[in-house]
């Protein structure tokens, strides 16, 4: 038996990003109805087609039921008790970063995402989203020289309406699921990326999502389009203050890859997880899906999920193009009373398509961590292959781990391979490392990061270091 108290201490780490920015915000009244949706659309000066898109989605949502099939338990969400639009008050038109409220810049500074010209990260362009709006996007001119469009989705609606109209909702239709329908009706901001034909994006693109307000939900929407023979690596980070109420986050992300295009989408999710008793924390219900539309296109999801009270998230790939490739690499760490039900769907539609799934779940405390995944081989997916590996690690004896792999094959000429394992950090392993002079908490964190290595190897360099640090932080504490 591993010394429970020690392990508990080690996995206890105060949340560093729990501060609230004191800033005047413009909020609309609580509740959801057609008028609210019209108001959001009006505030964002949207074209008619988008308002119609929202209203149709709302009608569908009203007829849908909140899904209950996930291995999650939480108190019912009152959708009329949420504010659907909240934005920091600032000047109408902002032409440069100098006009952004210094408090906002300071907030992102504190989060390690400096935005100003002098301090901004040099190798990555950032779109910073605060509650319902995008605050700033760096390196826009440099990217524009390559024809890359990187801006908030609100701006894209104004400046690139044709692309939005053509692609929005084509990967995740409004009627896809309850939370996607809700998002489609009320989405506020998020990022838009367009990589033109033949362009390799000259730097990593990144969005940072910050929830600041306690009573409003965040409903961001991201759309990434990679034209023929283009490629992009996109990173996403998330944090939120500590409130004793639960905040709803229901995002939709759509990726589209045309012939020979490749999109790599990496997430480090560190929303506030609630306290040790499970009070507060973000309810994270997210629909992420990529469509490999073109031949030999590739979409790769990597995620490190460490935050949120509830995580419900299945970044998926629709493999339509011949020889297209889908990948899913995931580390999900849950502690205390966190619950995660996460995984992926790999839908093989075209011939000779290939997918890889590597999932590592770590559960500590009283948490619950489930992998749920679907691999489907359609009738035309001849010569397609899937490899899945799902490993769980338990820390302590109160945590639980589940694996729910679903396999559907309508194509005899295809291969599906699934491996799964569960392990527990054993007292013998800890003693072995300790007896070599390695401190208890370092021993735990070494084993956890060793367990996650296959996934960390897939992350962009700086992100991998950050993810490793984040897990170590989550696992750090005072040892007796």
């Amino acid at each position: 038996m591993v010394n429970e108290n020690l392990v508990k201490d080690v996995v206890k780490e105060p949340y560093k990003y729990g501060f609230v920015t004191d800033i005047e915000t413009e909020k609309i009244e609580k509740g959801l109805n057609e008028d609210i949706i019209k108001l959001i659309s009006q505030k964002k000066e949207e074209p008619r087609f988008l308002l119609d898109f929202r209203l149709k989605a709302f009608k569908k949502w009203q007829k849908m039921k909140e899904p209950d099939w996930a291995a999650l338990g939480y108190k019912k969400i009152d959708y009329q008790d949420i504010i659907y639009y909240s934005a920091p008050k600032q000047k109408e038109k902002i032409s440069s970063l100098d006009e952004v409220d210094p408090k906002l810049l300071e907030t992102f500074d504190k989060l390690g995402i400096p935005l100003t010209e002098q301090k901004k990260l040099t190798n990555v362009a950032v779109d910073a989203v605060f509650d319902s709006v995008s605050i700033a996007t760096t390196f826009r001119e440099e990217l524009a020289e390559h024809g890359v469009i990187f801006c908030s989705i609100s701006e894209a609606v104004k400046n690139h309406a044709d692309l939005i109209e053509k692609y929005l909702g084509t990967v995740v239709p409004a009627s896809d699921n309850y939370f996607a329908a809700l998002n489609s009706a009320v989405f506020s901001d998020g990022s838009f990326v367009y990589i033109p034909k033949g362009v390799t994006c000259p730097m990593d693109l990144s969005s940072y999502f910050r929830i600041n307000s306690g009573d409003s939900g965040q409903f961001e929407r991201t759309l990434i389009i990679a034209e023929e023979s283009s490629s992009v690596s996109y990173l996403e980070g998330c944090t939120a203050p500590m409130f004793d109420t639960n905040t709803l986050h229901a995002a939709v992300v759509e990726l589209i890859a045309l012939d020979d295009a490749s999109i790599k989408y990496s997430t480090v999710q560190n929303w506030y997880a609630g306290d040790e008793e499970g009070i507060g924390g973000i309810f994270n219900f997210v629909t992420k899906r990529g469509k490999c539309l073109g031949k030999r296109s590739k979409i790769s999801w990597s995620q490190v999920e460490t935050g949120s009270a509830i995580t419900w998230k299945y970044p998926s790939c629709l493999l339509l193009g011949e020889e297209s490739v889908g990948e899913f690499y995931s580390v999900a760490l849950t502690n205390n009373l966190q619950q995660a039900d996460t995984g992926t769907k790999m839908i093989h539609i075209g011939p000779k398509t290939k997918s890889t799934i590597v999932s590592k779940g770590i559960s500590a405390g009283n948490s619950k961590n489930s992998y749920r995944g679907l691999v489907k081989m359609g009738t035309k997916a001849a010569g397609s292959r899937n490899y899945s590996q799902c490993d769980s690690m338990l820390i302590g004896d109160q945590a639980s781990a589940n694996t729910f792999p679903y396999i559907k094959s309508q194509q005899p000429n295809s291969e599906i391979e699934h491996e799964a394992s569960t392990c527990r950090i054993s007292e013998d392993q800890l003693f072995y490392l300790q007896s070599r002079g390695i401190e208890f908490e370092e021993a735990v964190s070494m084993m956890v990061s060793g367990f996650c290595r296959d996934v960390f190897n897939q992350l962009p360099m700086e992100f991998a270091a950050e993810a490793d640090k984040l897990l170590a932080l989550k696992l750090e504490g005072s040892v007796g």
Binding site: S426, Y432, S435, R436, I438, M446, M447
Partner: protein, 261 residues
Amino acid sequence: MQSKMKESDPILEVKNLSASTDNLPILKGVSLTVYPGEIHAIMGRNGCGKSTLSKIIAGHPSYNITNGDIKFLGENINSLEPEERSQSGIFLGFQYPIEIPGVSNLEFLRVSTNARRKFLNKEELDTFDFEELVKEKLEIVKMDQAFLSRSVNQGFSGGEKKRNEILQMALLEPKIAILDETDSGLDIDALRIVASGIKRISNAQTGIILITHYQRLLDEIKPNYVHVMSDGQIIKTGESDLALELEKKGYEWTDNFIKET
């Protein structure tokens, strides 16, 4: 010669040590003193408490000391954490070295070595300097560099695991090394490599405790003392010829000592 050794202070003093796990007594009053330069062998049937003694000296959390003391370089270490014992110079070579999936052997060896170096106020080594050091030590155990990029002990053969233990010992340069059946499961060649590794590391300032069932290791490394354990106690102590006699007569012979006492 022996009296000369004893002019210095002992490295390890185990005094009347009793210990239990899950309220089951395992050690029942063990006393053992190791002076610098000495090699001790502990023999005895399986389950007599040899391995437990070694684990307790290294600080395994599953055992409770119910009576007695363990002193290392004059200090009582009963309440020290395993990592503190290692850093200060106690080394336990495991009978069954543990596999740690995903953790690279090189990184493990480096972190471990640096923990000891930090204690000794020596400069900690970065990856490049450490690779130089480890290359040198690999020769002692005749291991290939490929071992370094593998996960700790994972997929190692029995002999490779034991050689990896000796490699760790060579890197950590302990004051006292307790080697728990390091010789078991080794073929003749591997045994020679392990034995020569042990010899390379032992010197006039260090102590070694060899826990073994077999004379063949003791043919390679001649102990100063041989202790026979039975039912949680040391029932007989002698010089190296005791091991030879034991080999001839078997443990049944030692059962008589218990009857006598």
